[in-house]
Symmetry: D2
Subunit: 369 residues, 4 copies
Amino acid sequence: MKYYSISEISKIHVFGRMGKQKDPLPLLFNGSGVEVVVTGSELWIDLETDSDFYEPWVAYELNGALMGRQMLLPGEHSLCLFRNMEPATPKRVRFYRELQAMSEDVTCKVLVKGLKINGEFLDVPKYERKLEFIGDSITSGEGTYGAYEDTDWLSMYMGASQNYATMTAKALGADYHLISQGGWGVYCGWDNDIRHNIPSVYEKVCGLAMGPMNEKMGTQEDYDFSQYAADAVIINLGTNDASAFNQPPILNPEDGLMYKQRINEDGTPNREDILKVEKAIRDFLLTVRKHNPKALIIWCYGMLGSDMLLPITEAINEYRNEHDDSKVLFLELPNTTEETFGSHMHPGPKAHEQASKVLVPFLKERLNW
Amino acid sequence: MKYYSISEISKIHVFGRMGKQKDPLPLLFNGSGVEVVVTGSELWIDLETDSDFYEPWVAYELNGALMGRQMLLPGEHSLCLFRNMEPATPKRVRFYRELQAMSEDVTCKVLVKGLKINGEFLDVPKYERKLEFIGDSITSGEGTYGAYEDTDWLSMYMGASQNYATMTAKALGADYHLISQGGWGVYCGWDNDIRHNIPSVYEKVCGLAMGPMNEKMGTQEDYDFSQYAADAVIINLGTNDASAFNQPPILNPEDGLMYKQRINEDGTPNREDILKVEKAIRDFLLTVRKHNPKALIIWCYGMLGSDMLLPITEAINEYRNEHDDSKVLFLELPNTTEETFGSHMHPGPKAHEQASKVLVPFLKERLNW
Amino acid sequence: MKYYSISEISKIHVFGRMGKQKDPLPLLFNGSGVEVVVTGSELWIDLETDSDFYEPWVAYELNGALMGRQMLLPGEHSLCLFRNMEPATPKRVRFYRELQAMSEDVTCKVLVKGLKINGEFLDVPKYERKLEFIGDSITSGEGTYGAYEDTDWLSMYMGASQNYATMTAKALGADYHLISQGGWGVYCGWDNDIRHNIPSVYEKVCGLAMGPMNEKMGTQEDYDFSQYAADAVIINLGTNDASAFNQPPILNPEDGLMYKQRINEDGTPNREDILKVEKAIRDFLLTVRKHNPKALIIWCYGMLGSDMLLPITEAINEYRNEHDDSKVLFLELPNTTEETFGSHMHPGPKAHEQASKVLVPFLKERLNW
Amino acid sequence: MKYYSISEISKIHVFGRMGKQKDPLPLLFNGSGVEVVVTGSELWIDLETDSDFYEPWVAYELNGALMGRQMLLPGEHSLCLFRNMEPATPKRVRFYRELQAMSEDVTCKVLVKGLKINGEFLDVPKYERKLEFIGDSITSGEGTYGAYEDTDWLSMYMGASQNYATMTAKALGADYHLISQGGWGVYCGWDNDIRHNIPSVYEKVCGLAMGPMNEKMGTQEDYDFSQYAADAVIINLGTNDASAFNQPPILNPEDGLMYKQRINEDGTPNREDILKVEKAIRDFLLTVRKHNPKALIIWCYGMLGSDMLLPITEAINEYRNEHDDSKVLFLELPNTTEETFGSHMHPGPKAHEQASKVLVPFLKERLNW
């Protein structure tokens, strides 16, 4: 068995949005990790993790099948990814972070330090197709694990392993990036907190990961979009913007003001506040387009209700007209039903599977794949 | 056995949009017919039908289950709807037209003259919920019968019996009206014929049914909307408006001009022509609202592709803003896939079932049913 | 349009077990009928039917898809099977009897007299695979039509069109014969009537159809098994033999004796009576083998409970050992569940579909198809 | 946080077949483990494991939902089962062994030493229903993890977490025991090794686990059947007995003789050898009945072909007749198809789900549950 530090391994596919730090390699987002094709009978991965409240979970796949999923408490870890396999046969292994980037736990980290192997690294087949998913708790896979009754807000209920984004990328044989945060919206969070909007962090490496430790890892640096030219960017936001209208006002400590998306007396959302969401959508589309000049941009919505469908499409239409950009589309995803809920009223694995079954043919047709 | 002319039967539910002629009763649209609850061992229906090219098909249900479906050639018919049943048990029977109103066959008619029975008519339970569906070939159930390879344009492939509208109404226990025509759009037909737009016929009893015979039956009279206050109007139009962009120009014999929805050099639809569709949508929404002041209006779309999704939502948003009418919504229905096609590339029964499974919970939630 | 009497048409596939009378052609069993491939725009079938209580139902398929299903009251009929189709394209049409052979209605008959056509008869592709199904109400498709609540015993609830046997034959591209009767068993009927056993009629053309009219058509003649060499004979009997144990004694008017399959005090079936069923099974296997020397014989069971599974397999094992015949197999079919019942507690179309999905791969594997 | 050794915890449900050693508690079979209902925010389990080639995998469920699954290399482990949960809410946790008892790895063990908790142990609701499953690789869940292409014979592909037995017990709210071994049969193993038969180990605590370490833990002691009165014993054996007919002879080192289940020239199995299997079945039924005098015994078969169906039923019938024991039944389970295979040609999770959907209603009906 020989140990290779992560930077010594040339035949490796590092997936998910990454920053400049390469060794040890921080896995910043859910669904980010490393993939190798190896000979030998045994493979280990060496990690260093930390966390306060939100301990990272990780998962690993062998030849495309999920084999294990576990929590990692703070410390150094050496995990065996397989053992006793037929040495000559090539094995494809993907190891990845299940837990979303944690905006609420400044200590949370997953560092890949290296791999131990008694065989050789082979070339990882190149992914010709590239996707990027931007979203909220749905894209963080919240509720894809856990019992229907479970309502705590904990890292164990989130995952990339049973997530429409992962399912979609697998079905298409595509590489993919996930940038998502539970509770966040395009304009504000589920609780009216206007700081919790994805656009504010999209252009950083991992703007969600704050605090000195994360900063040192480069999460707050500008992301270099040139390194990953997505064929399609799938934005799945709006669910929390819709929730905000039904939540009480919240104090923004940064300016000392109260914020609230208002409801009219007849129960409809206040038009001025809707227009704030729409402006945020248009602005975000402009930002996404700036960094993905050739990508098809698809705004997906509907897995947890569709109250925001018309404002989203209104914003998309205005953006398209203003910028003469016909490569921005809208797709409604299937709503979650009693049969498809996972834990704490979020889409379960079946709902993610249904969403993927709508998204895959849509992408195939639009991208001529 | 005693014969009752249709006007002699007070305990009867006549369903579908009807005109002033009550005896014999013309069944004008697909999914229109008569429903009775009866005792006795036997029930017959007396009909008179005519047609040239598009012979009417009819279907009948016993206690909610489809029992028979058949073609009716021109002439008088006396069909046995059941026989030899236990006389005392109440039987609920629905008899209805499968074939859409035929704009292309001025002779096509289905007249219900009366019923023969050896028992009694009981009260038909009142439908408290009311739906109206407006659409094109999808709502005419085209392709719900026939083999995948069948491509003739014939009446036998259409139906109300395996149709998302019927499935939806059944699942909700609702009465329903169907106003639909294959090949027609909200602005123009699939072939750019601007005369083939549903709004032009919506306010007539059955504007689709033309010629002296139909006129005599009152199809061209103004429809009295006060007799049926739909809780929700579901409009499923846009598929043919999308097709028109890919079809050659067509001569309109009425004004001698050529018409064509244009495509830009980059393959996108011409914006001016899109705006014609959007204007037609806005105008139609205004018309539908005028006649259905309290109804929830839902524009459904997507069972055969979604190229027109953004124009439709743009028009809906503009209409909502201009008229301050928040009770107009949009819902994307599942696209038809290789597994769910029926005949000649139209949604088959499984596609209709999937659409219904999306529509039913949406209606339940929005109407508090 | 030209009329051809049935005997004038050489390019025709007559399916189902038939007797010597060929013109007019009696359709004796459910799932028996005629198949043609034709050009021309129009096709009609001329029929003569009769019945007392159990009026025949018929169905027809165009290019493999069910198009119509209807009741035929006594008299002469000329049914249009299609109209206005593109003349040059070949159309494949199957017309068949839905209703089982009626042992309880001596007047019941369906005679095919001829076809009218304005095109030509083409060769019907030959079926290389041949199946025979022997059964009870399940194989008569009882309950495949009708509402869950319907409990009358009527011909309209039976059918060949949504039946596991038809589904299986279609999936395998096989020709097939159905010999079945609701309420009958291998030893006795559901009500202990020992006259109601399928073996007693199996060797006649259609021993189920009695009375002078049927006799005149040759139903009571010995069937000439040499005309149809089935690759597999599927026997689906035992359900009514199981019911008999839970029914009161019945008088057999032929010998004036009471008959009853007995239950022991502990609720188990009486062994002596079980052995009567087993003997009937062994004897019937011998008969079936005699007439189908090369066929694979599969005893299927389980769509309505499996109380008789062990006696059936005991009898099969004994038969195999005694006659050194290893080509007799047993296959359990999926039980009908709350979700898959059709009318009056019989398997509905979904249950038949599930059975077919078990039977098709089993046959494929065992017959190397 | 307080540590409790396993014997200090009175409010605990220990599941799976266990021996006399209680502290530390050996988990001998797959699907054996401990269940607690606790308050507090955190729960840990302390373990000691060992293995040579076949490292144990374990899984844990929170409130009935699978949360994690991982390999345990030799050594001491302290695994966190949950953290940071709402302290007052009761949490139900099941921790269990995924890997079958390993007859081929004398060092393999999983010892539960104790639990750490910062809350209290509450009563675990008592299971009123009790099941026992006896089987081979299918019941060991082989193939329920891993990619279709994977063919190594490794512990990671086995599991109790996605297994028909677990699914069945969950659906019925029943406690359950698993006694199973991949490759073993009722008479001989898949490779003709007559030592690999389940009956030879059934009466020991865990006769499969050999060698000094296991013996010291009591695996070779007689099992005390009085401690667990199963309502139903489900035997799922025969698949490997069928394979043996197609495998070459094998030397039995214990007697120096070659063994082989023979095939006749016509491809059928040799009757004498079939009778050896049948004798083994009858003898095993006698053994199972001896230790489970009141249980319903169900022999299930068919998830990987059904070549042995008739011999199994022949043996059951003979046993029933000889011992007048009507509470021994046979049930065919759905065969695995292309769509439902897991890894190395074993049933995948969907095949196990289908089997469970057949078994659950069967048990409900037969046990009046």
